[in-house]
Symmetry: C2
DNA sequence: GTCTATAAAATGATAGAC
DNA sequence: GTCTATCATTTTATAGAC
């Protein structure tokens, strides 16, 4: 019956619950129940809830960029790709019910933990580099230099995702896309 | 000895703890201990933890705009005032140790609650209107129309505050200010 | 209004059998 | 590696005296 291994099922269930209802509002008991595994199996694979959190962040990071690559693969042209980043985020908002960025959410609900910071920053750093690489390939209007344009697009997206979570709406990312279009 | 009333002391203590260590990571017991009041006094003034949360949001909203007015009062000129919004946020980041926006944090760590949404949205709506009023008074470069410029400044700020919380740094708000300056 | 004592449930984590 | 049973705390909230 079990298509997936126990460890994967634990991590998948925990990931879903951590995002949907929050890390602190998700108890070990609920993970055990919904993953349909034994209590000790969880603690065998993940010695503490913090270990599960770190695994969640790593898994989310991998999936995130995997989905990005898949989404971007058929899109040609650096300018089109930059604008497609906004479409990618809108698509994710819809799928994830506008609950915002996984990484921002975790930062907001956990206290200072260096291992958490390392992971969320690595995620955002990589996304900023992704934008920067595309910006350098475009022949944009030069209203802003490459670095400033990169930061502008990045901050517009981050702000729009945060407001999307607050208003449960794709409007802000769509507005951000139009603003971005005027600089490109 | 008691300079402030019991109800105020409860709300002040809860507010500090909700922001510093998170709403879900703050227990009623800790609030009682640190406010140095009796258990039943808390439940007399705030029938549930959710009532305390709503009072926290209302209080934070009032204080936020009160501090904004005080900060902006001596600053002359709409363009200077728009740029001063970024300085105001940097000043707050420093004071609050870069933990980000109170309202975004609460959205990130509580499940859908209409009363919470109403308050956080009212806060952001009011801030957007504040920006819009200033934008209309400026004689800006017209690279963007008033509505788009308003939304750009707003999203840049929101993104920068979110990244400030992630990187525990004022760099993003300062970068956002420079970007804003190039549109004004 | 404020107090102490306590309830009822949920929390993260461990022990020891198989 | 997986299981069940259980532990010690902590959680939000209530009861009843003063």
């Amino acid at each position: 019956m079990r298509e997936t291994g126990v460890k994967d099922r634990i991590l998948e269930t925990a990931s879903r619950l951590f995002y949907d209802q929050g890390y602190n509002q998700t108890g070990i008991n609920q993970i055990i129940d919904e993953a349909d595994i034994a209590r000790a199996s969880l603690y065998h694979h993940f010695p503490s809830k913090t270990d599960l959190l770190l695994a969640y962040l790593d898994r989310t990071h991998e999936l995130w960029f995997g989905e990005l690559e898949t989404y971007m693969q058929p899109i040609a042209g650096a300018r089109e790709r930059l604008l497609a980043l906004f479409d990618f985020r809108v698509r994710r908002q819809l799928k994830l019910k506008y609950k915002g960025c996984h990484f921002n959410k975790i930062v907001a609900e956990t206290c200072e933990d260096q291992q958490v910071f390392d992971r969320v920053r690595a995620h955002k750093d990589r996304f900023r580099r992704y934008i920067h690489d595309l910006v350098r390939q475009t022949d944009h209007r030069k209203l802003l230099d490459d670095e400033t344009l990169t930061e502008t697009l990045f901050l517009l997206l981050e702000g729009a995702i945060a407001m999307g979570a607050m208003y449960r709406s794709p409007d802000y990312v769509e507005k951000a896309k139009r603003i971005a279009g005027s600089f490109l």
